[in-house]
Symmetry: C2
Subunit: 417 residues, 2 copies
């Protein structure tokens, strides 16, 4: 089945808004084994829309149109869809009633122009939007089935997953449920993960292995479709176990969990608490944890400076140059001072010179807890921002490993020595 994604709206066409909706849709469809073969972007312009609809109808089997379902005059999707399909617009009375109730619950009167959102092409299939006033619909134009979705990302995502993808999978003659299993790791590059998992797809036909690198993390994905969720559970269980076995301790979280949520949960489960000392990471570790709901009870304090003397003054230490020994001393002092069960000090000595790919940093991480103090040393290379992001991740990941009783010194692919 050939699928086209057709994005509408002046904000997208003129580049004022970056088209993240397109990427989300194409990716979700691809993960379900549905192939997007063409993307079109046009503005809120009647002639362009009509031409785009007709061209898409001529080359695709299914077309997802995004945007243009709002209440204002420049929202033209329903009108142009009706014209392209050769039908009129009719009032969808149920949707009108739903919109009126939506406004009533908020003690507001529905503006008159919202009625436009309930005018749908005659004979179309209504597609529900439980979280907004722009309902979707589906209509045949030429030989292609068109699905109209709202431009608001939250509403589009929900409609895509719950309404459009099941219909597309049914049309493609494939069973109706899909699953995306995600593993987040730190320390393994994309090409090595690909090597480590090269035969995973062969273990269960129909499962699609994919990667998304967003340094410093790598996301490993298993996408699959099947008849029932129970079938997918059974199919995926051995594969998931195998991915966990191969990527091992580098996996830091799965699915919606994150490195920060895993660290905070582990602290909470132990009745623990945390203090952090940062240098060149510049508050980047604290920023990941401290604002999270509930973190205020776990994250006791943070101290920051890139100056050894200032950091020493903050910690009641002599302020010696950054090293493994000062990292250990900093973590211990911070733990004692803050009363936290765990203290982490991430001391970065950045190479001198202007920013360039050759610029690196020596990283000394001290981790103190009730069992004593350990140090993790590393060198990262690849420019200032690369070093800073890597050091933030290493600090957090070393803490995760320590909290979960895993080795803290497993080598990272990015590490140089």
């Amino acid at each position: 089945m050939r699928i086209e994604i057709l994005c509408t709206g002046d904000e997208i066409l003129t580049g004022k808004t970056i088209n993240t909706n397109y990427a989300h849709m194409a990716q979700r469809l691809g993960e379900a084994g549905l192939e997007v073969v063409w993307g079109t972007t046009v503005g809120d312009d009647r002639a362009s829309l009509l031409s785009a609809f007709r061209l898409a109808a001529g080359r695709a089997d299914a077309v997802i149109v995004n945007g243009g379902l709002g209440p204002t005059v420049d929202d033209l999707s329903q009108e142009v869809a009706a014209e392209a399909a050769g039908v009129g617009l009719v009032l969808h009375t149920e949707w009108l009633a739903r919109m009126e109730a939506f406004y009533q619950r908020r003690n507001r009167v529905m503006p008159a122009n919202n009625k436009k959102q309930a005018m749908l092409p005659e004979g179309c299939e209504f597609i529900d939007n439980p979280i907004g006033t722009a309902c979707g619909f589906s209509v045949l134009i030429g030989q292609a089935r068109f699905y109209f979705t709202p431009g608001v990302p939250r509403e589009m995502k929900k409609m895509l997953d719950e309404q459009v993808m099941p219909r597309l999978l049914a049309r493609a003659g494939t069973p109706g449920v899909t699953r995306l299993k995600r593993f987040h790791s730190f320390g393994i590059g994309e090409s090595r993960a690909d090597e480590m998992l090269h035969d995973i797809e062969a273990m269960a036909p129909g499962v699609k292995l994919g990667f998304q690198a967003h340094y410093p993390q790598l996301e490993t994905k298993l996408a699959v479709r099947g008849a029932t969720h129970a079938e997918l559970d059974a199919l995926l269980a051995p594969l998931e176990a195998e991915v966990r076995r191969r990527l091992g301790n580098y996996i830091l979280a799965e699915d919606a969990a994150s490195l920060e949520s895993v660290v905070l949960d582990a602290l909470r489960a132990r009745g623990g608490s945390l203090a952090v000392a940062e240098t060149f990471t510049s508050g980047g570790i604290a920023t990941r944890l401290l604002h999270v709901n509930g973190a205020e009870d776990l994250f006791r304090r943070g101290v920051l400076s890139r100056d050894a003397a200032q950091l020493g003054a903050l910690l009641g230490l002599p302020g010696d140059a950054f090293s493994a020994a000062t990292a250990a001393a900093a973590a211990q002092a911070l733990r004692a001072q803050s009363g936290a069960s765990h203290a982490v000090a991430v001391l970065v000595s950045l190479d001198a010179g202007a920013d360039a790919m050759q610029i690196g940093g020596d990283i000394n991480i001290g981790l103190a807890d009730a069992d004593g103090v350990i140090v993790r040393e590393a060198r990262l290379l690849g420019g200032r921002e690369w070093v800073r992001l890597g050091a933030i991740e290493m600090g957090l990941d070393s803490l995760r490993r320590r909290l979960l009783g895993l080795p803290v010194d497993e080598k990272l692919d990015f590490e140089r020595r």
Copy 2:
């Protein structure tokens, strides 16, 4: 002139990479008064590319193709361009020599398949790429002039600005230089800025006023084209002065400068230094400043906690609940303790409850310097992240205002009281 942007590549088509190139190109063209009317995305597929080129040739006057100029087999732009133009490919010997020299300077031998990047459609116009191995070229397909650009964002941006836009402007019969003047502000919403500046365009015909809101900042842009840079200087000077007069102290930086660079420059100019105390902003203020090259000499220290007792312990204070008085005391204690010339304490009392648009926060900012201590109080409303980002910006902007001798208590549009 009708312009189409045609993006190629499987990474873009499948959504693995978000298409930021498209947005950049469309925006730059729009700022120069060049209208993009259509966007197309296809993969690394010969038939799709050929079809896309032919469709674009039929509806546009100029087409910018992005991507597909690399050395690998799935890079097809030159081949398909030649086929669509009905010509063969010929070796561009000068570009081949340039590539060989490029590798030689790096003490490497050029891989054989790079030669492909010097095979260009016969009779095309060569377009230079001084920073990469993918040269651009321009060719006529049907009645439309096609410009081929590399997918690497850095290379694309340089080629667009320096090579493609002057050619497009010349074709459009408009003079050859463009200018984009940018003002960054904090505290004024887009619709109010639009009101405040509604008659600016009328002051100088041809100047285009635009806005880009990225909370908490707003970017106000003046785009213009003319015959010479001197002409643009003369045209823009009174308009820039007027924008500065109207937006006043809310303007925090212009063009490539940022709030952080302005603050750091102001500190440096005064021989000053800084210390910061943060709560719910969670290191977000330190993160903006401390990692910048040279900031290590200006940013003395940061202390963080969301717990009043912990923050008190860090500052040698009793640890009273956050208030205007504790913010003032925190800033003074921090200044004394760190030896910094300036100290900022941003204390946020977040509303209780689950995250929602109704969640707000009371913000107390203490600013201490040699002249004493002042406090800025505010309330922001709109969810946890909205409050956090707003408080970070307010802390930094209050510091900018204090450093520059501007009033710190001018009301923000986002503020609730």
